[in-house]
C-alpha cells in the first residue's frame, strides 16, 4: 500500500475513528461518507468508537500473506462493534482460545511492513477482554 494511501487513513486505522449519520443514527466502521439508508438526506460526521466488540466469526490463517507482521498462524475475525457495525480484524490470542461470542477490545499494533526496507504499517487489532 502506497504511503499516501496509508497516510490519509491514519486517524481511522490508529484510533478507530469511523463515521456516523446524524439523520438516522447509524454508525459506520469502516467509515463511509454516504449513508446507504438516508442517501443524500444523510449527514455524516466523524465518530470515535469505544473499541469494544464481540466476535461474530473467525478463522486461523495458517498461510499468511507476504509482508505481514504476524509470525505464523494468526486469528482473523469479523467482530461486531458495540455501536453496531461489523469489521474485519486480527485477534491477538492463542488460536485455540478464539470463539464466537468472545468479547474483545481494541489495541494499537504493528500490522505489517511494505517490503524489507519499506514503511511499517500500524493499525488496530483486538485482544480478548480480561
Amino acid at each position: 500500500m502506497t504511503v499516501a494511501r496509508f497516510w490519509r487513513k491514519i486517524p481511522q486505522r490508529y484510533n478507530l475513528i469511523g463515521t456516523k449519520c446524524t439523520t438516522c443514527g447509524r454508525h459506520f466502521f469502516p467509515p463511509r461518507t454516504f449513508c446507504p439508508d438516508c442517501r443524500r438526506n444523510g449527514k455524516i460526521v466523524d465518530h470515535q468508537f469505544a473499541g469494544f466488540g464481540t466476535i461474530v466469526t473467525y478463522t486461523v490463517i495458517q498461510t499468511e500473506p507476504d509482508h505481514f507482521a504476524s509470525p505464523g498462524p494468526y486469528v482473523l475475525a469479523i467482530i461486531k462493534l458495540d455501536e453496531g457495525p461489523q469489521m474485519t480484524t486480527q485477534i491477538i490470542c492463542d488460536p485455540k482460545e478464539a470463539k464466537i461470542g468472545m468479547r474483545v477490545r481494541s489495541v494499537f499494533r504493528k500490522i505489517g511492513t511494505d517490503g524489507e526496507s519499506g514503511i511499517i504499517h500500524y493499525g488496530t487489532k483486538f485482544v480478548p477482554v480480561e
Partner: protein, 388 residues
Amino acid sequence: MRDVAVIGIGCTRFGEHWNRSFRDMFVEAGALALEDAKLSGEKIDAMYVGNMSAGRFIEQEHIGALIADYSGMATRHIPATRVEAACASGGLAFRQAVIAVASGMEDIVVAAGVEKMTDVEPGASTDALTGAADREWEGFVGATFPGLYAMIATDYIHKYHMTREQLAQVAVKNHYNGARNPIAQFQQEITLSTVMKSTMVAEPLRLFDCSPITDGAAAVIVAPLDRAREFTDTPIKVLATAQASDSIALHDRRDISTMDATVAAGQRAFKMAKLTHKDINMVEVHDCFSIAEICAIEDLGFCKKGTAGKFTEDGETALGGKIPVNTSGGLKACGHPVGATGIKQVYEIVQQLRGEAGKRQIENAKIGMTHNVGGTGATVAVHILGRV
C-alpha cells in the same frame, strides 16, 4: 427483446500452462468456438472478454483490443470490450454479449474469458486475488481469500452443525466429475481422507477445500435464436440472464453465510425464465471453496438453508442425484482461471444440453443453470439455458 441462443463453444484444457501465453490461450478458445459454430471470423460483430487481473498477472491492460488484434478482428475494427467483476468477470461478459444480441444492437457476438495466473509466484497471485475483496479494510488487516471463506464456513458450521466430513464431500464429488472431464485441471478421483489429511490453509478449510491457481480460456458465440439454425443443428437458448450485487466486504453482509446476491440473481433468473429450481436438470455453481458450493445450492433454492451438507453427503448433488452440481468438476477439479470460469460454466451446460458431455452426461438434460460469483459474493451472475 430478441431471444438469444448459444451457437458455438470452445475451451482450452485448464491447468498450469507454463509453455503457453495469455494470447495463445484465448486464440485457441476463440478458434474452437468459431469452428464449432462453423463460422468464419468475418461474421463476428462484437466481442466481450471477462478478465479479472491481467494487469497484476501479466502486466497487460487493454485486453479488449489485444484480443481483437490477435483474433484477427482488429483490421475489421469490431468493438471489443473487457468486462471485470473479479471471479465473476466471465459470467458478466456472457451477460453483456446476451444483452447486446437481445437488444438488436449486434447479431453475432463472442463472449470469452481468459486468465493467465502462473506467470507470477503464488504470493503475488494470492495478493492479486485479494483485490476481489475490500483491499483497505479486509486485505490490509490480513484477510486472504481462503481466510474470508473460512469465516463463512465457521459461521455456517456454528449455525447449522454441518460436519467437517460433509463439507469434504463437495471436493470428493467434484474430483469424481473432474476425472470424467477432458479439459479439467485435475482428472483424479480423491477420497474423504485426501481432503481431511490435506494441509490446513485457514481453519476449518484445508487445501482440498480450495480451488487451484489455473491458466485457461473459454469462448462461446451467441446469436439471435431465429438465425441460430444457420450455424448449428443444436442451438441452446438463453432462457434467463441475471446479475446482482452486494457489499464488497464480507463484514457488511446481512448474514455471513447467506449470499444475498445469489438469492437475488437466482430469483430474478427464475422469474425471467418462468421456471423454478425443480425445472433445472444440472447446475454449475461457483465452488471457489467447498463452503461456497454449500451456500450456493441453498441460496439458489435447491435445498433448504442449513441442509446442504447432508444433501451433498446423501449424493443428491452427484451425477445421477436429484440435482447434479458441477458436472464439469467445478472450480475445485476443473480449475479456476478466474476470468474464464463464468464462460467455462456455460461451455459445460451447453455440452450437457447437446448431449456431448461424455462420461458425465446427465440423461435427458433439457435445462441447465450457471452461477458465477465475484469476491465473497459482491457480484453474482446467474444464467439459465435450455434445449430448443
